[in-house]
């Protein structure tokens, strides 16, 4: 039978969760007084009344603050008191259920068989039914994973999801070899294979040779292996590229090989240990260890269900670290998001999209949940706000790991067993899959398990703990994660050279009734596949059992060169591995790059787009500081545990009040060593709207200079690329992508910084007013640097009154794409460029100066230019400053104060230098543009003088800080 237990807070106790929800509802404009939350547990099994009491008293309730009841009384509702109960859809994972079962068994109650949870919200306030519905949809639940329990008083007869027994089944054969072109495309479409006609024909030809039709799971396997996601057809295929519609066509054979990989090949850095082919790029760290780094996107899932999307995005990239070499240990996370501004009016959103505020809240919570629970510090990140991301937000999740030398090599041997570890397999992530779940409402219920999932970080932490123990014992020969494509991708990749034989019915399932192809392509989270020499299997299974992690032998890498799948003894697939991996026909895509037509937008009433010489720029500085892209992200950083593992050295927030925005983050690789790792990111979509080539160079420059700013060295920096673009089958989208990749090549070679890994997410388009719109082409450059001595790190906060302020690097007439112009409603014409030769010279000089201990504080000039950098340094240090803008090294024609202060020219820093170091500094910076521009002041005034020595900015640092902190508080 099923017991229903309700837990709520004792009367008079504060309900912070309810209060927080109430604030969200009031934010929507509804006049409610309060919200109280009740946790509901449905317990199924042979459990006596006495046992339920014990479960309530000793497990479900905190006796100090909570009370419970299990005698169901219907909550009284009235016009002032509304009750909404929300539960997960059947098949959606709720980790609390498994923990509750464990907790009940620990009490000695063996009769428990299943647990389900729900949450009941009591909303106090006068609301119409329609208003309540709107609150439910917008605050309380996401219908993709949850539903409103229509009648909480109706207790179901069983909680288990039942399905037809799967042992009796028919193998589905697809009529392929006799199909015409139209039929082939139909097969592709109806099977959601996303294969084009050339690819379908190649498959047809192959099976004609085999003289048989394929099974459904064979087609699914090919579609998954050949998918854009797994195969990067755009980056690895042929592109016919032209500049301008009439430009001479240029044939690019693999954009990846000719740009990104070409950098690494050309630079031949000895410390690049493993690049591009594994789940993450690996570089040397110290005499015993290497480090690896990977950044992934999780855009589409995050748009649909922000919490779950970002949550599983973080989980996925951590599994990349766990699946690199023979498993690396995750050290830190970095997460970067692109959203529409949080103040976007609802009317401006494309239909069917979630409000950016909700997307942001969900994404940030999803990252918090996974990172914090796994105990991996989120040390660095960025958020870009731009209205073009309203229909398609971007979520990048990155992870750095530590791996002992020698463990970076994996090799599957013939005869190794295929072992799946971690979470169970369900229908998660199977496109369009719907399944009947039956008994919960005693009607069959259609469940969209589709693309939306929620992660279980504790499961992944358990996998990590067990895995690292098994690695130390040398018990397996290779490992990879189950990401997109599930077992199909993991086993298919690992068995490419050996072949594989898999018994699909050996995979532990979340619930009965999965079909064989569903097991094979399911994307259930927290699973890894390893290859284990048979003599080690017993020891390996023991380790996983001791950590309460399921491990199951699915089959064998059998040396057949074929991929053979069985289900309850019957063969369902038998494919040639070489066709699967090499049979994809070469595709040629068209690309045209057209320089964007830019113009100065006419001024809006009341906004001065024209600069008047000598004008006061205090207001411009305030607007720049309060721009969402510049404003403090403290409210987000503080909910991420950025200090777990104890490794952080330069934290995301620094300065006298621990609230200044630092540049790169610095962590130790190991607690007992001074050697460290710096991590940073460069991203700026508005530069790309003007010039994608320049955007790539600027982003690389930004990522590198942030590492230089904390004391890093240009000699030991590696890069990651992440391209998020629109549909590459459209020549204009692909044209700008090519330009951007070319910019990556040019800049990375010039800086001597190899790419070690990367990713692309294409087809980022959304529909508005019947038109398909692409997101602005976005490149994220992530950088990792090795730091010799973390004790020499430099932070950005001014340290001492009386110290000199220096500007390093030249300012140009480059307001294009700047925050300053955006605040004036303009994009601008000239985005920042990079003078590579001078940039390298500058970075080497800065490195010598930081190593010599000459620099008291250092901050890079990025969004908001020199003015924002100076203001941030001042208020982070709790000190004022006097600055002469005319002293800034400048090359340009316009000679305007606003350009000097707000241009976002690359390769620049502001430095603080204490008295007595000037001479040594001048020597190091010989031939590098640098000038003393002011003094750090004890008084809290921030004063900048203009070209004619008149004050153009005059403000108190506490006011500036408040203006900077308020927007995203």
């Amino acid at each position: 039978m099923i017991w229903r237990v309700e837990v709520k807070q004792k009367d008079g106790m504060l309900d912070p969760i309810g209060q927080s929800i109430a604030r969200d509802i009031i934010d929507m404009g509804f006049g409610i007084s309060q919200v109280r939350v009740v946790s509901v547990f449905l317990l199924e099994g042979t459990i006596s009344r006495e046992e339920v009491k014990r479960i309530g008293d000793e497990l479900l309730v905190d006796p100090i603050v909570e009370q419970y009841s299990f005698d169901l009384k219907l909550p009284l509702q009235s016009v002032d008191h509304h009750v909404v109960e929300i539960a997960y859809n059947p098949g959606v994972m709720d980790p609390v259920e498994a923990s509750t079962i464990k907790g009940i068994r620990d009490l000695g109650v063996a009769g428990i068989s299943a647990v389900r949870t729900a949450r009941q919200y009591h909303i106090y306030g006068r609301l119409t039914a329609k208003e309540l519905e709107s609150i439910t949809a917008r605050v309380l639940m996401n219908k993709l994973i949850q539903h409103v329990v229509a009648d909480p008083s109706h207790v179901p007869t069983t909680l288990s999801i039942t399905g037809a027994s799967a042992s009796k089944f028919d193998v589905m054969i697809v009529d392929l070899i006799g199909a015409n072109d139209k039929k082939l495309l139909e097969i592709s479409k109806s099977g959601q294979l996303y294969l084009n006609i050339d690819e379908m024909k190649a498959i047809q030809a192959h099976f004609k040779k085999e003289k048989r039709d394929p099974t459904d799971v064979e087609l699914e396997t090919i579609a998954q292996t050949w998918s854009e996601h797994c195969r990067h057809k755009t980056f690895r295929g042929v592109i016919r590229y032209r500049e301008g519609k009439s430009g001479r066509p240029q044939i690019i054979r693999s954009l990846f090989k000719t740009t990104i990989a070409a950098v690494t090949l050309k630079l031949k850095k000895k410390w690049c240990i493993s690049v591009f082919h594994d789940n993450a790029g690996v570089i040397a760290f110290d005499k015993d260890y290497h480090v690896c780094f990977k950044v992934e996107t999780h855009n589409h899932p995050s748009a649909l269900e922000p919490f779950g999307g970002a949550n599983t995005g973080v989980g996925g990239v951590i599994r990349d670290t766990l699946g690199t070499g023979l498993a690396a240990k995750p050290l830190c996370n970095t997460d970067i998001f692109c959203f529409a501004p949080p103040d976007t009016p609802a009317a401006d959103l494309p239909p069917g999209t979630l409000h950016p505020k909700r997307v942001m809240k969900g994404v940030v919570s999803g990252v918090r949940d996974y990172g914090n629970k796994m105990g991996i510090p989120t040390v660095n990140g960025a958020i870009v706000f731009d209205k073009h991301f309203a229909g398609n937000p971007l979520v990048f999740c990155g992870n750095i790991g530590l791996i002992p030398k020698g463990k970076e090599i994996k090799r599957v041997s013939r005869g190794d067993l295929i072992v799946a570890v971690g979470g169970r397999t369900g229908r998660d992530g199977i496109h369009g899959a719907t399944f009947s779940s039956g008994e919960l409402t005693s009607e069959s219920e259609t469940v969209s398990s589709g693309a939306v999932q929620i992660g279980n970080p504790i499961e992944e932490k358990k996998v990590q703990d067990a895995l690292l123990k098994a690695r130390e014992a040398n018990l397996y020969s290779a490992i990879t994660d189950c990401g997109a494509g599930g077992f199909s991708s993991a086993v298919g990749e690992m068995g490419e050279k050996t072949g594989a034989r898999v018994d699909l019915d050996k995979a532990p399932l979340k619930y009965q009734g999965l079909k064989y192809h569903e097991i094979w392509i399911s994307e259930s989270q927290e699973r890894m596949v390893m290859s284990v020499p048979p003599q080690n299997i017993e020891a390996l299974l023991k380790i996983f059992e001791a950590e309460n992690v399921e491990a199951s032998v699915l089959g064998e890498f059998d040396g057949s060169g074929r991929l053979q799948l069985f289900f309850h003894g019957q063969q369902v697939a038998d494919m040639d591995m070489s066709f699967l991996h090499d049979g994809l026909p070469q595709i040629t895509k068209e690309a045209v790059y057209q320089k964007p037509k830019l113009r100065v937008i006419p001024a809006k009433a009341g906004i001065h787009t024209r600069y008047r010489p000598g004008q006061d720029l205090t207001e411009s500085l305030c607007m720049a500081l309060s721009h969402f892209n510049v404003a403090s992200k403290e409210s987000i950083i503080r909910i991420y545990d950025h200090e777990v593992q104890g490794t952080s050295v330069v934290k995301p927030l620094v300065g006298v009040a621990t609230d200044g925005p630092s540049d790169a983050a610095v962590i130790r690789g190991r607690l007992d060593s001074k050697r460290g790792i710096a991590v940073s990111n460069g991203i700026n979509v508005r530069y790309g709207m003007i010039d994608p080539f320049g955007m790539a160079a600027s982003c690389i420059d930004e990522a590198i200079r942030q590492i230089i700013a904390v004391g890093g060295s240009l000699d030991r920096i590696a890069l990651l690329d992440n391209f998020c673009w629109g549909n590459p089958d459209k020549p204009d989208r692909l044209g700008s992508l090519v330009r951007c990749a070319q910019g990556c090549y040019k800049a990375a070679v010039a800086f001597g910084t190899p790419f070690i890994s990367g990713k692309d997410s294409l087809y980022n388009e959304y529909t508005q007013k019947g038109k398909s719109l692409a997101i602005p082409g976005t490149i994220l450059i992530s950088a990792i640097g090795i730091i010799d001595d973390v004790g020499k790190s430099v932070t950005m906060d001014f340290k001492k009154a009386g110290n000199s302020i220096y500007a390093i690097g030249t300012t140009f007439d480059e307001l294009g794409g700047s925050v300053y112009l955006e605040n004036l409603g303009q994009l601008g014409l000239h985005a920042p460029q990079v003078n590579f030769k001078m940039a390298v010279k500058t970075y080497k000089a800065v490195e010598r100066a930081t190593k010599a201990g000459l620099i008291a504080s250092l901050h890079d000039c990025s969004e908001g230019g020199a003015a924002v950098a100076l203001a941030e340094m001042a208020f982070a240090g709790g000190l004022g400053a006097t600055v002469l803008s005319k002293k800034l090294p400048y090359k340009g024609k316009q000679g305007r104060e606003d350009i000097l202060l707000f241009s976002e020219s690359n390769s620049r820093f502001i430095a603080e230098v204490s008295a007595g170091h000037e001479k040594a500094l001048a020597k190091i910076f010989k031939g590098v543009p640098m000038a003393r521009i002011g003094t750090v002041e004890a008084s809290p005034e921030f004063v900048v003088y203009g070209l004619h020595d008149q004050p153009v900015i005059n403000a108190r640092i506490d006011e500036l800080k408040e203006i900077w902190k308020a927007p995203l508080r």
């Binding site: 620990d106 001791a546 932070t795």
Partner: protein, 262 residues
């Protein structure tokens, strides 16, 4: 020559501060084993072989149902006798963050009398948010773990459920009069804190308590995260006089106590 100080750091699904906690003890010369709760319950490892039991931070069992609840029940139901004996033998226990939540919910703290029953809890922060920030703490009582510490220290917190609540006023009064309140949140100048100086709304700004022996200590802040000088959030503004940070003294005290008394 005193014997090797032996520390057991307990971990389970979701524990995640075990390595840095182990590092703090071992850096100061102790022998440390990180042991899964399963191995302790199975008897593969024995509590009685150790001098110090440390329950580190993390999200044991995901904080499911409530933080620390499931591991607290495992200790209470499966290891109660061993733990009672451990305390009777004059040995030391420290619970940090999730470890404090576990000690409170298992009733091992505040240990008013020998009855194991829950007298205090750590509930959702008033802000309803996870709070990762640095806090100033007044060292109110000289329990074994805080002997010789300065009057005020600086440590980070990182928790969503850290609001200390006693069952009733009587419990609070007993804690106060017994000198069991070890750490209180305070403003930078030592005065009464406001949010976020008290990051969670704890009753009487309580951040850490000990039992009546002064040997069992639970605290929400993380001393192992201010163990090294460069873990201080603005160490680049400070003159380095030691390799260690404010939290190191706590671990040192534990080790020294064992050396001197056991």
């Amino acid at each position: 020559m005193t014997p090797n100080v032996k520390v057991i750091v307990i971990r389970t699904a979701g524990t995640n501060c075990n390595e840095e906690t182990a590092f703090a003890f071992s850096r100061l010369g102790a022998h440390v084993d990180q042991v899964h709760i399963n191995a302790l319950i199975a008897g593969t490892f024995k509590l009685s072989d150790y001098h110090i039991l440390a329950l580190p931070g993390g999200f044991s069992y995901g904080d499911d149902i409530a933080s620390g609840r499931i591991l607290a029940n495992e200790l209470r139901l499966k290891l109660a006798e061993e733990i009672k004996q451990f305390i009777r033998d004059g040995k030391l226990i420290i619970g940090i963050c999730n470890g404090f939540q576990i000690l409170a919910k298992a009733g091992i703290l505040p240990g008013l009398g020998w009855k194991i029953g829950q007298e205090t809890t750590l509930f959702y922060n008033d802000s309803a948010k996870f709070e990762a920030r640095w806090v100033h703490l007044k060292v109110e009582s000289r329990c074994v773990w805080t002997k010789g510490m300065p009057g005020q220290i600086y440590l980070p917190v990182a928790h969503g459920e850290g609001k200390f609540i006693p069952r009733e006023k009587k419990v609070l009064d007993a804690l106060t009069s017994n000198g069991q309140i070890v750490l209180r949140y305070c403003a930078p100048d030592g005065s009464k804190p406001a949010y976020p100086e008290n990051p969670n709304g704890s009753t009487d700004d309580i951040a850490g308590i000990c039992d009546t022996t002064g040997r069992v200590f639970g605290l929400m802040p993380h001393p192992e995260r201010h163990f090294l000088f460069e873990q201080h959030p603005y160490w680049t503004r400070l003159k380095k006089t030691s390799d260690f940070g404010d939290g190191a003294k706590i671990f040192e005290n534990g080790i020294n106590y064992v050396k001197e008394n056991l």
